[in-house]
Amino acid sequence: MRRSVYPLKTSTLEKIRRRERAIKVLLYGFLFITALPIIIGYSWLFLNSFSERLVYGLIPEQLTLKNWSFLWKPPSPYYPSLWRAFANTLILGLGMVITVVGISTPAAYVLSRMKFPGRIEILAGTLILHSFPGITLLISLYYVLRTLGLLNTVVGVFLVKAGLMMPFAIWVMKGFFDGIPWDVERAALVDGATRFQTWYKVMLPQVKPGIGAISILAFLSGWSEYIYVITFIHDKRSWTLSSYVNSIISDYRFLDYGLLASTALFYIFPVLVFFLFAQRYLLQVSIGGMKGGE
């Protein structure tokens, strides 16, 4: 028998090990059971969209692609083409990216690097604005869009959403600029670059990770938007996938779960791709930024 180096009997050690293993099993069991609604819910989307029917709620019978016919033929004449809604959703997402990144990056640079009267007030203002949450602004935003003639347009929705996201984006980007040593910038200035050249050629490449993360967050936020879309857009030509799926739910909920699951899967697909490939990267920023913004 091997002599143990521990001042404990081998049997006692064995007992402790067994207890720790039991606790581990319990913890794994707990994690699995509590996550079941999520696991089952998302599996259902896949199973139901590719099968004729499900027995006992989850077991697929007969694989089929017929649930996907909405890709070329709308489920009823009432519906616009799916691809039109898809294009609108894409415009909403990309519009968010361009507006948010294009506007927040220069502003964040200035707030991070320059001292000017009103700096503290601007930063504090962004935090006070945070106490006006979406619901409180929805009514007045409706009024503003109506006045600007932007109701029923995708542009209106992404401008509104970009405006609301701006304080958050500025805070995050400011954090990235804060992290660049001043020496880098000074070196460029000493070499004769103008302020703008320094910003564009030296500073921007350094904050690429921040720009990437903000872009993905902005895109997903536009792509997934629900409330602003169904409140500000009624014209079918401007429908996004949110309005499309929303209508499918109210028209076909008890009739055709296959159609529901397939349209939802179509809508969620890009989100899943980002979720799988860019998640860790996103988390850093969204948690770091949550201190100040949303």
Partner: protein, 295 residues
């Protein structure tokens, strides 16, 4: 000068789509504006009407139970449990389950709502009811019978991940020596959590509680999709009532004036909360002056 050039696009966007609407909300609250969008000032009429609104006591009750219930069961407690458990099991397993819990947060709301509508479907085709039917029970209309529970659970599955992430980061930053010392002194797993982990993360717990109270008070998106506030007003929270007063389909919509006044109450609560955060969490420290003065 160039500062102004760099800042002006941001200032204009925020002014038009954030500051102006904020001011408009305050002003609209003093009018009885409806679908005709006329500015008829009626002073504090909307707030007087609020005192006489026979629906409000019930809505306050639902809002209170919803916020306390979701916060107490999911956002703080369950978020904390998830953080503790995922940091106790292997690193890869922990990360996998944390990702899984984040999935609902990144899912478009309408899809997330649809998944729950299927789980809670009142016919035998829903997940819960198909299980009931399989063991010989009759299907139940879950939303009709348990509206409050439904909105707490559906929002909780999204809310739990926020606390989970904050607490995971906080637990990770506790020096390991503290745990070792406790274990050497004979502490078991639960004593370790009670006397080492919890006291070390009390600030994050307070932060999540404060922050999420405000988020929940103003959230209504998932309720709108899943229960629509019904049956009758049984799951209508303050924010959803405000929404329905203005844009809701089924009772007297387009009451923009009264809706703004209702929204303003949420803003006042929000401002009080923001000032409290400011004091408690020293937000001023985040606004450090730039190290070197430029321009």
């Amino acid at each position: 000068m160039s500062a102004l050039l760099f800042l002006s696009p941001a200032i204009i966007t925020v002014l038009v789509f954030y500051v102006v609407p904020a001011i408009l909300t305050v002003t609209m609250a003093l009018t009885n504006m409806d679908y005709r969008f006329q500015w008829n000032f009626i002073g504090l009429g909307n707030f007087r009407r609020m005192l006489n609104d026979f629906l409000l006591p019930g809505i306050l009750r639902v809002t209170f139970l919803y916020v306390i219930g979701t916060l107490g069961i999911f956002n703080v407690t369950f978020g904390l449990v998830l953080a503790l458990v995922t940091t106790s099991v292997g690193e890869r397993t922990g990360r996998f389950f944390r990702s899984l819990w984040l999935l609902p947060r990144f899912t478009p709301p309408v899809v997330y709502g649809m998944i729950w509508l299927w789980i809670l479907d009142p016919t035998k085709y829903g997940l819960l009811n198909s299980m009931r039917v399989a063991i010989g029970l009759r299907p139940v209309d879950w939303i009709l019978n348990y509206p409050l529970l439904v909105i707490i659970v559906t929002n909780g599955f999204i809310g739990a991940s926020f606390g989970m992430l904050i607490f995971t980061a906080a637990i990770r930053s506790i020096p390991r020596e503290l745990h070792w010392a406790a274990r050497v002194d004979g502490a078991g797993l639960f004593q370790d959590i009670r006397y080492i982990t919890l006291p070390q993360i009390r600030w994050p717990i307070l932060f999540v509680t404060a922050y999420q109270t405000l988020s929940l008070l103003t959230s209504y998106e998932y309720i709108l999709i899943i229960t629509k506030g019904g049956p009758y007003f049984a799951s209508t929270v303050w924010a959803l009532y405000t929404y329905n007063l203005c844009f809701g389909g089924y009772y007297a919509p387009y009451q923009f004036g009264y809706g703004s006044a209702m929204a303003l109450v949420l803003v006042i609560i929000g401002l009080i909360a923001a000032i409290t955060y400011w004091r408690v969490f020293r937000f001023r420290a985040m606004m450090a002056e730039p190290l070197i003065e430029v321009v």
